[in-house]
Amino acid sequence: MAAAPLLRCGGRRARLPGWETLYSRWCLITSHNLYSSVYDPNEKTFEKLLIANRGEIACRVIKTCKKMGIKTVAIHSDVDANAVHVKMADEAVCVGPAPTSKSYLNMDAIMEVIRKTRAQAVHPGYGFLSENKEFARRLASEGVTFIGPDTHAIQAMGDKIESKLLAKNAKVNTIPGFDGVVKDADEAVRIAREIGYPVMIKASAGGGGKGMRIAWDDEETREGFRFSSQEAASSFGDDRLLIEKFIDNPRHIEIQVLADKHGNALWLNERECSIQRRNQKVVEEAPSTFLDPETRRAMGEQAVALAKAVKYSSAGTVEFLVDSSKNFYFLEMNTRLQVEHPVTECITGLDLVQEMIRVAKGYPLRHKQADIPINGWAVECRVYAEDPYKSFGLPSIGKLSQYQEPLHVPSVRVDSGIQQGSDISIYYDPMISKLITYGSNRAEALKRMEEALDNYVIRGVAHNISLLREVIVHPRFVQGDISTKFLPEVYPDGFKGHELTDLERRQLLATAASLYVAEQLRSQRFLGTPRIPIAKSKRRSWELSVHLGDEIYPVAVSKHGSSFSVEVDGMKLNVTSEWNLASPLLSVTIDGTQRTIQRISRNASGETSIQFLGTVYKLQILTKVAAELSKYMPEKAAEDTSSILRSPMPGTVVAVSVKPGDTVSEGQEICVIEAMKMQNSMIAAKTGKVKAVHCKAGDTVGEEDLLVELE
């Protein structure tokens, strides 16, 4: 990697040492791949490949390219100039400003980069241009290989109406529904009545849950039609909709297929993707607990039949809805690499990206159907920067002030495209990473997932680790009793975090109290020999008062060597740890039970937040004396200034990114003020609706001038 020692800095490049070390470290980390496709160095392949994507999938593709000896070109928007995929690639070119329509979807700019860098092939990843037939066509016209199926297959499968017809013809089970485009709301209602409620209205060009509505009556159908067509128009530039029978309480199971240009096609078993929120997948696994070998084979064979029917080549996914009687219906075919492809790689040992590149180069598949194994079990959790306590996840943005992947846990694979210090911005998907664990059976994979989630350090943005951890230990999930409605059924009132049992609460209190005492003891340890000797405390026991939730618990701690004996609720617990107070992860043994906890914050007032069993708990720990006195401290009503945004300095408003009625999330940019030739981004202090905007671009504002009000 010749470009590696170059450090990017504000458009200039300065040759500096140090990066090599970082890079070699990184390579070490990426050796945890959990797939083992053999690479034949004598097999001729592309010399240079461009990845028309960003984030984890761009990194994922680059890894395989490196293995295969292919040079890589990354594209990026200007805000991504320092992104991981840019650093990993041999070359990187900026294709435009942050909004995707101007960068990652900007075909002209990308074509220009391809010409300039002489890339021979393009891997589109998922999303963006991955299923864009126009892009595939333009590549073909310039003699550049598109790593994916040909234009015909993309077009056929990308259109839900056409794909359904094709599937029917290929004798694939399909959902009863209307096979044409719905013209208007009245027609939608008529068709819905014919099919019978509930019905699903979805964008013909859609995917990923966008432009999708479920309607249970006429009124909802009209409404759904309106919203879906708006969403479809804005997301895909195509407002055609279709309507079909909505299968209530189904599972979402998909079959990975792999086909070459010589008429060979394989099915690489299924992935269970039923745990979803708002039609977006959260937890996936392979294989599924639900399928028996016959159903699996039937689904696999139908999937292969469909692939052959459209002369499919490359990797693709045929999605099915499976009802409780194991009837399965074709949903759609995704003509790209799926987000959740790693679980398939884990159980089959195939490197799907490598296979895609081989197939695109024209090589026939190396495997026969009988060679495709199901080895062990793999689970994937999608770790998002979002607040799971709001509708199972509302995006959160910010800077990853601390970030550490749990790669020290055995059989863990993390596909990510970010690092400590990365910004999770409003422009792109808030996914932080895909966390995959593998085991010889499901229980082992889940156990490792639990451990991996506990050992995952993410600070600076809200994340959904708490929800993921609750899901994977939930008895229904563990038994395999899941459906796409799992989350709303299990948490009808919304997700509230882990509910502590009495024992867990004691463990948490004991750990927090021990941590407090360890901290107190450390603050008395000074190095060197001070002029005035330090009085050594002979104290061996502490009476504390811990505030957790609405309760105050008296906790007595006494020290025995490096362990603490803690009395909580009349129960004695023995807490042992190395008490490394700087490490973001702390392994604690409480009466023989090992727990990995994370102390998220602490302050001098005894307030601390601890991530315990995935959920972050806020505690306040005081000595008994301070706690007694704190009863007299008045409660203070928090002054709420978060709904008003004032200019912190005199300057010029460069841009206003909101208008009245907009919903903004905490930390989102509201406007930009330029002062002293510096652009200062004003951000929302809370999530809410914009009530009024008092400035416009070009205005000159003074200090403390009112800019924007939130409701």
Binding site: L16, A604, M676
Partner: protein, 615 residues
């Protein structure tokens, strides 16, 4: 009354191990209790009116709780039964170990001294208790002794001058009912995390905490000893002002304290925590100390109170607006930080104390540190945005470099375009100064220069190494600044950095333009190690302005040429003005290593009586 005295004894009796109040002490106590209304009435308007600190008098004294003697139970029973019940301490708390320890100071604990010690511990509360509590102090002010209890390590307080009484004879002050053993302040020494500190805590329940000659004498005594021994003085201020009845003696007392504040300045750290009113002349003692902290909603600092302000300038202003914690931490810059309540403030003070050396004879303390000194910080490689007009948060850089992300910021809400505060590097206390590009582009103006200068001088005085992060576009232009005297105020920061002889490490993260480059601990001002990140731009000014001057805007490519030439760290590096251009991720490692080397730094300036900093 006799009944109450009897009750006192009855209450006291069940507590074994306590020095029992003797008959002699019970007597005057009950007398005083009877005299409450008179005593209060006499004291309050007097000192309150003087300094416009009527609020002080109106402010009801905090309920006394810890360190209470049994006797007070009987005295504080009127109209507050439910609160009082909650306040009752179980046995151990009512038996502070000071009882035995203070005996050492007082020299023998005979029956007589024991009897006097009891009322001293109660202060004014013994008298005022019931009546005043009835009026309800819901603002959460702790008593003078409770504050000491929370501030110091358990059982570490050695009290001084418990038997000192005021000497005023006018206005009936000599009557025994107006005498309180110990007067209106508790003084002594103790330990904070094992380290020695001298403390005084003003007792608002005795004449509104007003300063008598005796009160001042007690404070001076511990200050003198602190300076001699070489240990910090912490003042917990809660006083209505001068003791009017004592007239000039009280003023003399203030001056005695001021003198000692000045003489101790730069010798031992002096910290003031304002926990109640502090008005009139009294404000100058905190102002002379190194750090002034306040408690939100209950503490006020002003020269004259709202009433006087109204009569003189006809301004309507509340105490809070005039001199509350918010005013002084955001507008005036008088206070360095504010805390939520008494407990929060005292616990934070304990933590803050750990950063400080005990005196100018001691090196910066080194704590046990779990954060590896060779930790790489990869996110720093990308933290500075590629567009030089885009802001970032200097606190992100500071947090990621220092030990365990712990940064005790000083004046976080004032002149936010400069960040100052204490942190540790590999366990050793360091003072950090950084321009904050997020606020007003990180420019230097009057307030930020003064804020930075005072902090730098503190660190220099107390052997605390300075780490400076530079991203400064220059001094803020404009009439407001020029008329306000930015020249002489900016010179303060320049002066402070130049005169400092502690280890000075500077990291230019981005802009270092113009005179501000020189000011920010540059190599030229005896910087020991000056680093630049690859993103650094060390130049006289931004490219645009420079080109306009050089070419009067006629050269089209000139701007690019200027950027190429100066908007990078190399021109400074080739001249040796920066020692190295470093990978940002290695900053922590480098600084930790440099600090180890520089620990033995020795540098002196020419002999002088003292320098003449442009005040």
């Amino acid at each position: 009354m006799n009944n109450r005295a009897a009750e006192d004894r009855a209450q006291a009796a069940p507590c074994p191990g306590l020095p029992q109040p003797c008959a002699r002490s019970a007597r005057p106590q009950s007398d005083r209790r009877a005299a409450v209304p008179a005593g209060r009435a006499g004291a309050a308007p007097g000192h309150g009116g003087r300094a416009g600190a009527a609020p002080g008098a109106a402010a009801v004294p905090g309920p006394r709780r810890l360190g209470d003697r049994p006797g007070r139970r009987a005295t504080a029973h009127r109209g507050e039964a439910p609160r009082r019940a909650a306040r009752r301490r179980p046995g151990p708390h009512r038996r502070p170990a000071q009882a035995g320890k203070s005996a050492k100071v007082a020299g023998g604990d005979g029956a007589l001294s024991r009897c006097r010690r009891e009322p001293a511990r109660r202060g004014g509360q013994a008298v005022h208790g019931g009546a005043l509590l009835g009026s309800g102090d819901s603002r959460g002010k702790l008593t003078a002794r409770e504050r000491i209890l929370l501030l110091l390590d358990p059982d570490s307080f050695d009290e001084y001058d418990m038997f000192v009484e005021h000497r005023c004879t006018d206005f009936g002050m000599d009557s025994s009912k107006n005498k309180y053993p110990g007067d209106s302040v508790v003084t002594g020494r103790g330990r904070i995390n094992g380290r020695l500190a001298y403390v005084f805590s003003q007792d608002f329940t005795v004449f509104g905490g007003s300063l008598s000659g005796a009160h001042a004498q007690k404070i001076c005594k511990i200050m003198d000893q602190a300076a001699m021994v070489g240990a910090p003085v912490i003042g917990l201020n809660d006083s209505g002002g001068a003791r009017i009845q004592e007239g000039v003696e009280s003023l003399a007392g203030y001056a005695d304290i001021f003198l000692r504040n000045v003489l101790c300045s730069g010798v031992i750290p002096q910290i003031s925590l304002i926990m109640g009113p502090c008005a009139g002349g009294a404000v100058y003692s905190p102002a002379l100390t190194d750090f002034t902290f306040m408690v939100k909603d209950t503490s006020y600092l002003f020269i004259t109170g709202p009433d006087v302000v109204k009569s003189v300038t006809n301004e309507d202003v509340t105490q809070e607006q005039l001199g509350g914690a918010k005013t002084h931490t955001t507008v005036s810059g008088v206070a360095h930080r504010a805390f939520e309540n008494d407990i929060d403030a005292l616990l934070n003070l304990r933590e803050f104390f750990n950063y400080l050396p005990l005196s100018n004879r001691d090196p910066a303390p080194v704590c046990e540190c779990h954060d590896p000194s060779d930790r790489l910080v990869p996110e720093l490689d990308t933290i500075v945005p590629s567009e030089s007009a885009k802001a970032y948060d200097m606190l992100d850089i500071i947090h990621s470099i220092v030990d365990e992300r712990e940064f005790f910021e000083i004046m976080p809400m004032y002149a936010r375009n400069i960040v100052v505060g204490f942190a540790r590097m590999n366990g050793r206390t360091v003072g950090i100064v950084g321009n904050q590009p997020k606020v007003a582009s990180g420019c230097l103006d009057i307030n930020s220069s003064v804020k930075g200068a005072r902090f730098v001088r503190f660190c220099d005085a107390f052997n605390i190494p300075l780490i400076t992060f530079v991203d400064v576009p220059g001094f803020l232009p404009g009439t407001a600044q020029e008329y306000g005297g930015i020249i002489r105020h900016g010179a303060k920061l320049l002066f402070a950095f130049a005169e400092a002889t502690v280890p000075k490490i500077t990291v230019v993260t981005r802009k270092a333009y113009g005179g501000a480059y020189d000011v920010m601990s540059s190599k030229h001002l005896r910087g020991d190690v000056n680093y630049a990140w690859p993103t650094a731009e060390v130049a006289v000014m931004g490219a645009k302005g420079a080109v306009q001057i050089i070419f009067r805007g006629k050269e089209a490519n000139a701007e690019e040429e200027y950027v190429e030439k100066f908007a990078n760290p190399f021109p400074a590096a080739v001249r040796g003005f920066v020692d190295d251009i470093i990978q940002p991720s290695s900053t922590r490692t480098r600084i930790c290593h440099d600090l180890d080397i520089l620990a033995s730094k020795s540098q002196s300036s020419p002999w002088k009586k003292h320098a003449n900093i442009p005040l």
